[in-house]
Amino acid sequence: MTDYEVVIGLELHAQLATRTKLFCGCSTAFGAPPNSQTCPVCLGMPGVLPMLNRAAFDHVVRTALALHCRIDPETAMDRKNYYYPDLPKNYQISQNARPIGVDGWFDMESGGSIKRVRILNVHLEEDAGKLIHPEDTGAATSRVDLNRAGTPLVEIVTGPDLRSVEEAKAYMESMRQFLVALGVSDCKMQEGSLRFEASISLRPFGQEKLGPRVEIKNVNSVRFVLGALECEIRRQTELLNRGESVPQQTVLYDVRHDETRPMRSKEHAEDYRYFPEPDLVPLHLSPERLEAIRATIPELPLARKQRFMQCLGLSSYDAGILVEDPAIAGYFEACAALHADAKAVSNLITNEVLRELKERRLTIDAFPVRPEGLADLLRRMDAGEVSKTVARDVLTEMVATGRGAGPIIEAKGLRQIGDEAVLRALVLQAMQQNPKAVSEVRAGKSKARGALVGPVMRATQGKADPGLINRLIQELLNRPSSGE
């Protein structure tokens, strides 16, 4: 079997984070009863006209800027004409001739290094509605839900720059983080607010010319995109190995059979008859406005991650976890500003805070332990007031009750026992009760040490300072065996 170089391009559609639709005042909230969020404009009634939602436009400008695109100071909307029942006007208002941004790039991490992906085009368009088929409802006919019709979308098209399924996966995940951090989309895949389409071709390694492009439609989750890409690589490799050529075509991914099949020609219109949307005047973008939008771009995930690693000494893994959600990263930074040991902060958040959030299905904004409270707990850990194990229980109690670490430690008597005299007696007792462990430790079997620490911990209900216990064991072992 010959190997070929895989060439993948991705097209992303993300729902923009606006309260209202792109051309009318209807709500964009997810999950309302069918057709309850509609009006004459998004129903495409005769006589209605669109009015552009400036917030959606600004989101796309922000996205294009953050992707280092060239921004056209005068852009315009176009009509894309095709017939489908989920598209009430039978045309989609989109951008073709003058997209908001072109020729940008996006840096992402893949396989431990930074990969630059070209961004060909960033533009604004409206979403279609949703068809509800009889198979799903048991009804006699298909129905149309137009709640989503007219929802603002940003479309981002990459160059054919991704070279493996892994890179495609990294791109999709990095893009999601990027758009969320930028604040332009919440990117909830399950609500359809982030969708991908892929195109893929294969070519012999070393060949410059691209192979025939196969477009993959109908893939509505990252998992399906990846599955479809794997399928296509297998299918195209087989064709090429048999000496056949791959026809340029559009394929659908059949999830159930994990295979791709060519679309019948009627299933996709080929001529969209784009022309300038006469109902919307061209959009001017003054340099002042452009700069004002640029000023709203926050630090983006990759840069933030690199800063966490370089300035705060976090591992790539931990930094990656923190920047996945900009709110978590923000929480971390707020805590790190109050507590100097950033690694300790990171450890507590990535291990314990994230676990609490997950168990309680909370977002970090609703997390009852604010950065001051967490820093206070960290300080008490540093001071030896509580052990790591106890700190975990204290945190759980803080989340559950909303009380501070101090009162909880006091009330429950969780303060770490650091009294040397008390612990020395307990260690001595443990050594006397387990001479076998003592001789094993003496013989260099450090594992046996646990058999000595355990009883001390049990006797103190975990409150003993583990460091101190170890030191005492060592001291007592080193002592001339007076008692024997």
Partner: protein, 489 residues
């Protein structure tokens, strides 16, 4: 009381002074409609009960001492491609025959706010595509001056209703001459405002970059009054201009001495009927005697206007009319089957021949491989046509020319020859392509007693000057005072 012979300005004044009630005014035109409309057939829908209710409400308001607005109690007819809440809006098409909008067009809201009584909806060429109202998918409207003649189009129903005194005023829409040409054919005044002057929200789109709503009226002051009410910025229409609206009525009576009138030589050439040319030249003499100066100008690219228009307008129409597919509202074919068959059958059965012809033309002009040669090229010629006007208006204040090349033609005369029909808009189309304001007003009668019209074209946003010149003309003539004697065929 027979108030239908009063002009809108007079009627509003009488109602304000309480010599006439709004209800009396409505009853008078309803009676007129009852007498005449069986022959003229201007109305698609007469909302008699609704009009009476509106009038009663206005009379009560007046009794409480409240002001009624500029059009208080004046009965107005609305072209049936302008949405009226709760009242069918058919576009004279089978495909929208049962469509009742849940909202008012912005102009209808403005009419209501000004105290106008919405009388009903008037016939048009289906989706405003035509020049004789013979393309109506419902029925043919006749010219009140001669029932065997076309009233012009596409706002033929509105023009006939005003001409026959079945409404004080009417709204039309003008994409390539659809207000001015029927005004000319029916012997009344019609104004096509500057593109962006009047909101298009609620006007069922034919060609979005050309469509504009405007008044049809018996004389210039009535047109000025209605125009004043219609104009103004609308936040629901991105192409609507945020500009101050002059008091057109107050500005009417200024002098025209020294104003320069341009006569485009391209509009006085081949194809223009002798009778029309004589009447327009006579009218120009009248304006000269009032102190205006005249000079010949050139609108060099106007010979391409018809071709350009039929690419731009049809391209936009092919997209604008895509929504009538039987899925969401309006007519749906009973011919069941798959989705494609539903679309095809609904549109085949629902649209008339001219609409289909234009949808196909426009689809072709936008198709891949033809876009550059047709749509794009037409857009460029459009720019040249606009520049012609810009150049002309550096030399002159108003352009004067015929509205239509012929007097009203016979019904059926051109209906089988679309190209000849298209040429009846030859003098009106350029204005829409340039987005400028224009008006048509009566300037004489043919030997057969049919009305003839002249056209005045103005600078962008300068409807005031057009109206002033037109008023200067009407003060010196009485063509606008003549009423058609509608007789049984």
């Amino acid at each position: 009381m027979e108030t239908h012979s009063l002009s809108a300005v007079e009627l509003a004044e009488c109602i304000r002074k309480r010599s006439v009630s709004a209800l009396e005014a409505v009853e008078s035109v309803l009676k007129r409609i009852e007498q005449l409309d069986a022959q003229v057939r201007a109305f698609v829908t007469v909302d008699a009960d609704g009009a009476r209710a509106q009038a009663r409400a206005l009379d009560e308001k007046r009794a409480r001492g409240e002001a009624l607005g500029l059009l208080g109690g004046v009965p107005v007819a609305v072209k049936d491609n302008i949405c009226t809440r709760g009242l069918p809006t058919t576009c004279s098409s089978k495909i929208l025959q049962n469509f009742v909008p849940p909202f008012d067009a912005t102009v209808v809201e403005r009419l209501r706010a000004a105290g106008a009584v919405i009388l009903g909806k008037t016939n048009l060429d289906e989706f405003a595509m035509g020049s004789s109202t013979e393309n109506s998918g419902l029925f043919v409207t006749r010219n009140p001056w001669a029932l065997d003649r076309a009233p012009g189009g596409s706002s033929g129903g509105s023009a006939a209703a005003v001409s026959a005194r079945m409404a004080s005023l009417a709204l039309g829409s003008d994409t390539g001459g659809s207000i001015r040409q029927p005004a000319s054919f029916c012997g009344i005044v019609g104004v096509k405002p500057t593109y962006g002057r009047v909101s298009r929200y609620g006007l069922v789109a034919f060609a979005s970059s050309l469509d504009q709503i405007g008044p049809l009226a018996r004389d210039v002051p009535d047109a000025a009054l209605l125009l004043r009410v219609l104009c103004g910025h609308d936040p629901q229409d991105s192409t609507s201009a945020d500009r101050a609206v002059p008091d057109f009525l107050r500005d009417l009576d200024g002098p025209i001495r020294g104003l320069r009138l341009g006569l485009p030589r391209e509009f006085f050439g081949e194809g223009l009927s002798r009778e029309v040319e004589d009447a327009v030249r006579q009218a120009i003499e009248t304006l000269r005697s009032a102190g205006a100066e005249t000079l010949e100008i050139s609108l060099a690219h106007s010979e391409y206007a018809v071709a350009t228009y039929y690419l731009v307008a049809t391209a936009e129409a092919s997209s604008n009319l895509a929504r009538y597919d039987g899925v969401h509202y309006g007519y749906r074919s009973a011919e069941a089957g798959d989705l494609y068959r539903l679309y095809a059958a609904t549109r085949r059965e629902g649209f008339g021949a001219e609409v289909k012809r234009r949808i196909m033309l426009g689809t072709y002009a936008l198709s891949s491989g033809y876009y550059d040669a047709y749509y794009l090229k037409a857009s460029r010629v459009r720019t040249l046509i606009r520049r012609d006007f810009e150049k002309a208006f550096q030399e002159v204040d108003v352009v004067v020319c015929p509205t239509a090349p012929t007097p009203p033609f016979k019904l059926g005369e051109k209906v089988d020859n679309p190209l000849e029909m298209y040429l009846s808009d030859i003098y009106t189309i350029s204005l829409n392509l340039a987005g400028l304001p224009g008006l048509s007003l009566p300037c004489g009668f043919s030997s057969e007693g049919l009305p003839l019209g002249m056209q005045m074209l103005g600078r962008a946003w300068d409807e005031s000057t057009l109206l002033r010149v037109a008023q200067a003309y009407q003060r010196r003539t009485d063509f606008h005072r003549r009423e058609p004697k509608v007789s049984l065929l």
